[in-house]
């Protein structure tokens, strides 16, 4: 069995590249590997380049790989464009017709030319992807029964005729005649590994919500968050009991509906991205001050404004923390892996309940769309905080030491009032300076309570690398992957560094300050121009920071390593 392999498949819109990646990922996961599958879209929405990159390993996969071991490319131009990413000893898998492949004599590694187009001519244009898959599986030396099962399952799920399976078999026979498994690329099969599922970040959030007993969702389509809404709409009505999914006219309505649902005592969530998140700001501020629990997933994309809908970025942190007028705080969680997309969503719901506040999950396009193998969660052992409705008081905003008041729900508690005006303990408008000061301190206390708890439990920060190192890296969200790999590799190279990955970005865990203070230099790695987390760190911990900042596409481990060396 191999330790680590990365494969890129590159083509055009019609080549079924995404299908290849999906089926291959499932099959390789079932072979016992940890898997990461990253889909890359070209700039154009349709008809542009399409590619996906798959990395498998016996250890957790942190990054899809900057250069690859296997490159399959369908057109002369996609070969050309991607060849620089193929390792010198990597396998190039191309069509055997000269017009589909440029001169690759410069590539020192093995080249595998396959009759993909010839076979496609025989079976029809639509068979293209299934033929390619068969060839690739053969070249990789996979367990063919596993991949065949995966194909069958995929066809069934999408309602595609089983005759395609015959094409697959025919292609395999052809491959056996024409191609030989790649030297050293015999992908075996491991046993005894955890049972795992293959989820995208967005899927993991949906399942996190379902496990948290959220059955009410409202959302408006927006790339790259739409798939959550679609998945909810397919799944929710099939579950026992009552559920509701509303796709309203815009994002203001979406969060308005979520607030209404939550006011009745139901757990509810929405998902959006950049421009949609922006439009939710006013009602989000209303939810903060009316202390309405809700969960909002923001799958960040390239900004500002409409920006780059299909590119990843981490530039909504400022807006997420500060994007509402007035002194308005909420909780911000940032998962760094698909697994965390699942568990932090559960955490988000639990925190929303306990602190009666909106909780934002700050994901991004890279994390939301890519798939990873996730050790199958034992749903019965996951702690879920239920909504507790008080039926005895009408003091919805009662002043307490913790800042947390009794929760009341429409139709279940004594009658009460909710307003975005400054209100008193009963929720009624009261604009006296004393009341305003009192209620604004109460909200502040809630966050102090939370901060103390986090600090006590030393939670919401992952530390990695050598704790004694004087060089510290801080990163968040999906950029953590490249940093983790960089930290490991730097340590292998004899340059130990320490890293911290906060998973709660507001409020920031105080114990992160101890880490920062113990380092001579702090490098903050984040995919934005302004250094948004760095700014929060300086503000809160008064520590000078260095930055690795860029936009456009996700970081590679090499970039992180280079930057460390540069400033070291």
């Amino acid at each position: 069995m191999l330790n680590d392999l990365s494969i890129k498949i590159a083509g055009k819109g019609g080549d079924g590249v995404i299908f290849l990646g999906d089926v291959l990922a499932v099959a390789l996961k079932r072979c016992g590997y940890q898997v990461m599958l990253v889909k890359k879209y070209g700039a154009a929405v349709r008809g542009g380049d399409a590619a996906c990159q798959l990395r498998i390993s016996r250890r957790p996969v942190e990054h899809e790989g900057t250069s690859v071991d296997v490159l399959m490319a369908f057109q002369a131009e996609t070969v050309k464009e991607n060849l620089r990413r193929l390792k010198n000893d990597g396998w190039l898998v191309v069509d055997d017709q000269p017009e589909s492949c440029p001169d690759v004599s410069g590539h020192p590694g093995p080249v595998c030319r396959l009759p993909i187009n010839r076979l496609t001519d025989r079976f029809g244009a639509k068979a293209n992807n299934i033929i390619s898959l068969a060839f690739l599986a053969y070249v990789l030396g996979m367990d063919l029964s596993v991949i065949r099962d995966a194909v069958e399952q995929n066809l069934t799920k999408r309602g595609i005729p089983m005759s395609n399976l015959d094409v697959f078999d025919a292609a395999l026979r052809e491959a056996a005649a024409d191609a030989s498994p790649a030297q050293g690329l015999v992908i075996g099969r491991a046993d005894g590994l955890d049972e795992s599922v293959l989820w995208s970040g967005n899927e993991a959030v949906v399942f996190g919500a379902l496990v948290s007993k959220c059955r009410m969702v409202a959302g408006y389509p927006i790339t790259p968050a739409t798939s959550t809404l679609e998945l909810f709409s397919h799944i929710l009505p099939r579950l026992e009991g009552f559920s509701a999914l509303v796709q309203p006219e815009d994002e203001m309505a979406a969060i308005g509906v979520v607030i209404g649902m939550s006011l009745t005592g139901a757990k509810a969530m929405t998902a959006t991205s950049g421009p949609g998140f922006q439009l939710m700001g006013e009602l989000l501020g209303y939810a903060c001050v009316t202390e309405t629990p809700l969960v909002l997933l923001n799958v960040q994309r390239g900004g500002p404004s409409t920006g780059l809908p299909t590119a990843t970025e981490q530039s909504d942190l400022f807006y997420t923390i500060h994007g509402r007028t007035g002194d308005s705080r909420l909780i911000v969680l940032a998962p760094t892996t698909v697994t965390e997309c699942f568990y932090l969503t559960v955490e988000a719901f639990n925190l929303a309940e306990r602190f009666q506040t909106p909780v934002i999950i700050l994901s991004d396009q890279y994390l939301g769309i890519r798939k990873e193998s996730v050790s199958k969660p034992d749903t019965s052992s996951i702690e879920v905080t239920d909504r507790v409705v008080d039926t005895a008081t009408n003091q919805r905003f009662q002043l307490t030491d913790s800042g947390i008041s009794p929760y009341l729900a429409l139709g279940h508690s004594p009658r009460f009032i909710v307003t975005g005006l400054c209100h008193n303990e009963e929720g009624r408008p009261d604009a006296t300076p004393e009341n305003h000061q009192r209620m604004s301190m109460k909200l502040e206390r809630k966050f102090q309570t939370l901060t103390t708890e986090i600090d006590h439990r030393q939670s919401f920060v992952e530390y990695r690398g050598d704790p004694a190192a004087d060089f510290g890296i801080v990163s968040w969200g999906s950029s953590a992957g490249a940093v983790r790999e960089a930290v490991d590799r730097l340590s292998d190279l004899g340059r130990p560094v320490a890293a911290a990955f906060p998973k709660m970005l507001s409020p920031l865990p105080p114990h992160l300050g101890d880490f920062l203070k113990s380092k001579k230099r702090i490098l903050v790695v984040e995919l934005n121009q302004q250094g948004q987390l760095a700014s929060c760190l300086r503000d809160q911990y008064l520590c000078p920071t260095l930055g690795l900042n860029r936009v456009g596409e996700s970081f590679t481990p090499e970039e992180v390593m280079d930057r460390v060396k540069e400033v070291d």
Partner: protein
């Protein structure tokens, strides 16, 4: 049986100006609630921002004072999640047809089961008398001292175009009729819109109403309210300003339709559990 006074809140003192139309409307609502025997424990008043928007503070029920223009989405969330609640939405003309105008047709096409009371004083009362979407052309307001240049929107006409299942118009000068219309609206299963011609004596001295009082007519008793063309005819009549019920039809509410989907999904794809669904990703 409940008394109208039971719907009056003792908790906040009413700060409406003297002779404000909102006094009449609140009184009419309380009487209609009583006569329809609405359980105050399951009544939710949802409102936007403005003078009309303050109604929830004065009614003894659950009160949700949302944001300017946003009462409908919040109300939809409430009714979707808990159909046992009786939801009444109160919005000013600015709330309903200015800033909140985009939400209206999507609430109506859902036929969500609630009463939508539009308090149309044809001015932005709360902020001091600026021109509103229903201010008539030529009329002076604090932002249009040389006269309002836009044609007003027509709430009834638009409701008919939005296929609202119950469309009525009343006025604060005809409170008995208003109580009756509100009762019918409360009894109607589906989206019930009541357009109320109100008054803002503080900021609008020469009211629309005064200029048009002579044109006001009850909708004739022989009007076929199930006929959309008949309703359009009344609403387009240049000589009369009709009050009463323009249109009423019965069709499935949003909750009915959502239930159908829940049933259909299970019938088509089978009932399932979260654990089973997770299993599909193994």
């Amino acid at each position: 049986m409940h008394l109208p006074s039971e719907y009056r809140s003792q908790m906040s003192s009413v700060i409406y100006c003297k002779r404000c139309g909102n006094h009449v409307i609140m009184g009419a609502m309380q009487k209609a609630f009583a006569q329809q025997d609405i359980d105050p424990e399951s009544l939710v008043i949802v409102a936007g921002i403005g003078c009309a928007g303050r109604v929830p503070f004065y009614i003894n029920a659950y009160g949700v004072h949302t944001l300017h223009g946003r009462p409908l989405p919040v109300a939809i969330g409430i009714k979707t999640a808990n159909r046992n609640l009786k939801v009444v939405v109160v919005a000013g003309d600015g709330d309903a047809y200015g800033i909140g105008g985009g939400h209206v047709p999507h609430a109506t096409r859902k036929n969500i089961d609630l009463v939508f009371v539009v308090v149309d004083n044809s001015v932005y009362g709360m902020t001091g008398g600026q021109t509103s979407p229903t201010t008539r052309q030529g009329h002076q307001t604090s932002t249009t001292i040389y006269g309002t240049i836009l044609e007003p929107v027509s709430p009834v006409f638009r409701s008919l175009a939005d296929k609202v299942s119950f469309v009525a118009r009343g006025t604060v000068e005809h409170s008995a009729q208003l109580i009756d219309l509100l009762q019918q609206a409360l009894a109607h299963p589906g989206f019930a819109m009541v357009h109320v011609l109100s008054r803002c004596p503080t900021h609008d001295k020469l009211h629309y109403f005064d200029e048009n009082a002579a044109r006001v007519r009850d909708i004739p008793p022989d009007h076929d309210r199930t006929s959309l063309p008949a309703a359009l005819n009344l609403c387009l009549d240049p000589d009369h300003l009709y009050t009463g019920v323009f249109h009423q039809v019965l069709k499935p509410t949003y909750n009915d339709r959502a239930d159908m989907i829940l049933a259909k999904a299970k019938a088509q794809k089978g009932i399932t559990t979260v654990e089973d669904l997770v299993e599909q990703y193994v």
